[in-house]
Symmetry: C2
Subunit: 514 residues, 2 copies
């Protein structure tokens, strides 16, 4: 635990977070981006209805295997039919009724009154998450450690374009029964943003919820009344929900916290090879999870997850940023809007290095999600190897793209002054606008200020050493971490948090549930 302790101590220099260069940043803007682009569609309204009805048939006629006993009981109580081998069949009217209970929007709460709207047009970029490995250009690829976990929490806190935290790294040097305690502590001590909690059994979930209550100074009642955290539930496609995943849906619904219910339907592997086939299966599985949440607690917040892409048919491995990935995102957005629930997508890459391929694939997938109208886009920054590794440098490079897309959503000014007849009249033919009055009035903040784009000319660039983007990114993340200082928790909360974690560690933590 030395790493965590020292991380706690480093916050001796506690004061407001300082940033390497905050001129680009605009937390108020980045935390409330509205997607002003039109939604791309690949299905007619009739086809949307056909896919939806086919998903309902899958649930009713084929069923979902639910491995968790309590989940099957809850679903049976809600009107589903439980058959042999833990197969649950969902009557169409039960699905329709229970899905309609899920709220169409919600507000997530960070520390100090900060909020995130999650609703029809909201657009939030989440970090690359769930990676067992980590890489950077100095140390290379290795198993994720607590030190990396702390680093990525601080990087997420630093950059405003990331409005909520995600589990970028699996800290493999922390025992699995203690991991939830340590990762929750790092999040709460280093960030004011909404923390994540893994759904790995009720024991871990309740420990985590209690730590959030301590850090945010919330009664059980106050915790239940608003949203303070979230988790991601993956179904075991095709047509299966395992014990911890079902338990997570139940636990989060009981405490009125949102689950992002995300089938990971890869066309040709865990799902049909066609886009519409993958969408049909994914939609069915997502609705099954939503029904379980609503059967547990009517009105519980849930987010429709869809993360369908295809596989490389030569290896069966997932690939991203493909035409199939992009089109499936368009269709998933149509299905999410059809049932009126906020939806989460993701981007990604199968690339092995923070190079042009992985940058291109990640951006292609990102546009798929943005044009599909996803409200949360997880894995927006840092992922490599289909999520097996997160790269410090790619994290920074991808954020530049996220920021640019967010900035695109800003309106253009169309006042007479902006349209600029007077400015045009002021400059003679063949002249320039560098010192026009309009330019002088606006030059300091008219344009987006990038994070790491090098806009020197070739001669200057070469003379400065011919720095490639990945090296610039390396310099930036190191500087951010060097300068990082977390906002302090009030002393009494910090003491209570420390005491809670110490006690639970002595009690042996909480093993994950299989």
């Amino acid at each position: 635990m030395a790493e965590t302790e020292s991380s706690g101590r480093r916050r001796g220099r506690r004061r407001q977070a300082q940033n390497v260069d905050k001129s680009h940043a605009d937390a108020a803007f980045y935390h409330s981006v509205r997607n002003t682009l039109p939604r791309a569609e690949v299905l007619s309204q009739d086809q949307v209805e056909t896919l939806h009805q086919t998903s309902l048939r899958v649930l009713e006629e084929l069923g979902i295997r639910v491995l968790n006993d309590e989940a099957r009981d809850l679903l049976a109580d809600a009107g589903c039919e439980v058959r042999d081998e833990m197969m649950v069949h969902f009557p169409k009217d039960v699905v329709t009724e229970l899905v309609s209970r899920a709220p169409g929007s919600m507000v997530w709460n960070g520390a100090d009154g900060t909020t995130l709207d999650i609703g029809p047009d909201s657009l939030h970029f989440g970090p690359g998450s769930g990676c067992p490995n980590v890489t950077d250009t100095e140390r290379g690829r290795r198993a994720g450690t607590l030190r990396d976990y702390i680093d990525f929490t601080q990087l997420q806190q630093h950059f405003d374009i990331i409005p909520f935290l995600g589990p970028s790294i699996e800290p493999q040097d922390v025992p699995i029964h203690e991991r939830h305690l340590i990762t929750a502590k790092v999040q709460l001590e280093n960030s004011t943003k909404v923390p994540w909690v893994y759904a790995r059994g009720t024991g871990q979930v309740l420990d985590s919820f209690e730590m959030i209550r301590i850090a945010r100074d919330l009664s059980e009642e106050a915790f239940r009344q608003r949203i303070w955290t979230y988790t991601v539930i993956n179904t075991n496609s095709p047509r299966q929900i395992d014990i911890p995943m079902a338990q997570g849906i139940i636990d989060f619904a009981r405490w009125c916290q949102p689950t992002i219910i995300t089938p990971f339907c890869l066309s040709g592997a865990m799902a049909p090879i066609t886009e519409t086939g993958s969408l049909t299966l994914s939609h069915a599985e997502a609705m099954a999870g939503i029904v379980l949440a609503q059967a547990t607690n009517a009105g519980a917040p849930v987010i429709y997850g869809a993360f369908s892409s295809n596989v490389n048919m030569r290896s069966g491995a997932p690939v991203f940023g493909t035409p199939e990935h992009i089109r499936t995102n368009f269709g998933a957005g149509q299905l999410a809007r059809h049932i009126g629930i906020p939806w989460r997508s993701a981007t990604g890459t199968a690339g092995n290095a923070p190079d042009v391929q992985s940058a291109a694939e990640t951006q292609l997938g990102l546009w798929g999600a943005v044009l599909g109208g996803a409200n949360l886009i997880i894995h927006s920054a840092g992922w490599l190897e289909g999520g097996l590794t997160i790269s410090y440098e790619k994290f920074i490079m991808d954020l530049e793209v996220c920021q640019t897309i967010a900035q695109v959503m800003k309106p253009v000014e169309a006042t007479p002054e902006a349209i600029g007849f007077d400015a045009i009249a002021e400059v003679q033919p063949g002249g320039h606008f560098f010192d026009a009055q309009q330019t002088m009035n606006r030059y300091s903040d008219q344009f987006y200020e990038p994070l790491i784009r090098d806009w020197t000319n070739f001669g200057q660039w070469e003379e400065a050493g011919g720095i490639q983007t990945v090296e610039q990114a390396h310099t930036m993340w190191q500087q951010v971490l060097k300068d990082f200082e977390a906002s302090a928790l009030p002393e009494d909360r910090q003491a209570a948090l420390d005491a809670f974690v110490d006690r639970r560690l002595k009690e042996g933590g909480a093993p994950p549930v299989d």
Copy 2:
């Protein structure tokens, strides 16, 4: 001229072009892509009309300086008012009337009956063009040569996603008065696609037209009846059209060939610092060029060019893939559609290396043009340094992105078989679809086959040498050039082309006009 001659001789091995790997390619598809995405808009319909009216005021009240005598005469004859200092004032009703004469769509003709529709929903990716320098990872950055020019012509011919040729390289080892002859010869001998012609004076233009007529076996009349080539006209923003540019508009209009009339309005430099100000100036200048074309020959094909981005306010240099660049593209598309003329945009990058920054900027700008509904997107592949250099490797890497975006436009299948209830029923919960009947029926061609994406896993990738994308691209372009074989011109046309070029070279070529 040794280089050209040897290039001619290398085509001794004349037969149908062979490709490194044509499994990805689908010329019929890539040459007829329809943009099925919705159009992004940043202006209300009222604002579009306001910008359009302001542009008309700029033309009428402020005027455009037209340096070419014949152009001023043509404009005066059409009802414009010529004042002191070569200033031409365009009455609003004259502009409205003449712009309405321009066709709303057109067909470009390559060799052997191949055609390209250029109309409301068409989407064509053009190569990076106009670069004085060239770079590759082996030889580094250097002045462009004829050898490079030949290479890029062959690369453009090879890849179906590029449906027309562009002047990627300025071959600086070819004297300027001979360059039009040599570049036209290389294009006609190495490619069946629509060739470009630079507008650098009537002498060069007419030589080039004659060479196209020889290679395509066209009478003057047949040449005029259809479209066989194109040129790009840049205005000298703000509010000036120079002698060769105006002459190019006139020459091309007389011969019924299209000019892409493209103001290069950089916000904060040659145009107002605001997006709407840049758009207003760019729209005015484009309409001035269109009016000149229509004053020359009513109904002459023209393409509305808009290539507005912003500058780095620290250096005044153009930058690309910025939020401002993207939003301006959206607005330019609205203005082009307002006057009902096909429109051309571009992407680009200010990056100095074929690295992640330049890949990201190029793709960001590309999406701006695609979502803006551009019918032609020039500089889609290869550009670096704002067009000062073209990279062999970046050309390949960018094509992967263009191909992916084109493929996104394909419809998804929503037949019962594709939606796949039966496929879903066939696979047990927790199973997989690798050997499902639907998968077996479709696996060989369901998914896009990439050019150079490496989808091996990390271990395989590392063992194979940890190849970065740029190195893969290097291997690919070398292989394409090694295997390239042009379709032969019929012997009599080749002989006539050779004789024409020999004669014109002996006569001293044609100097460019300033």
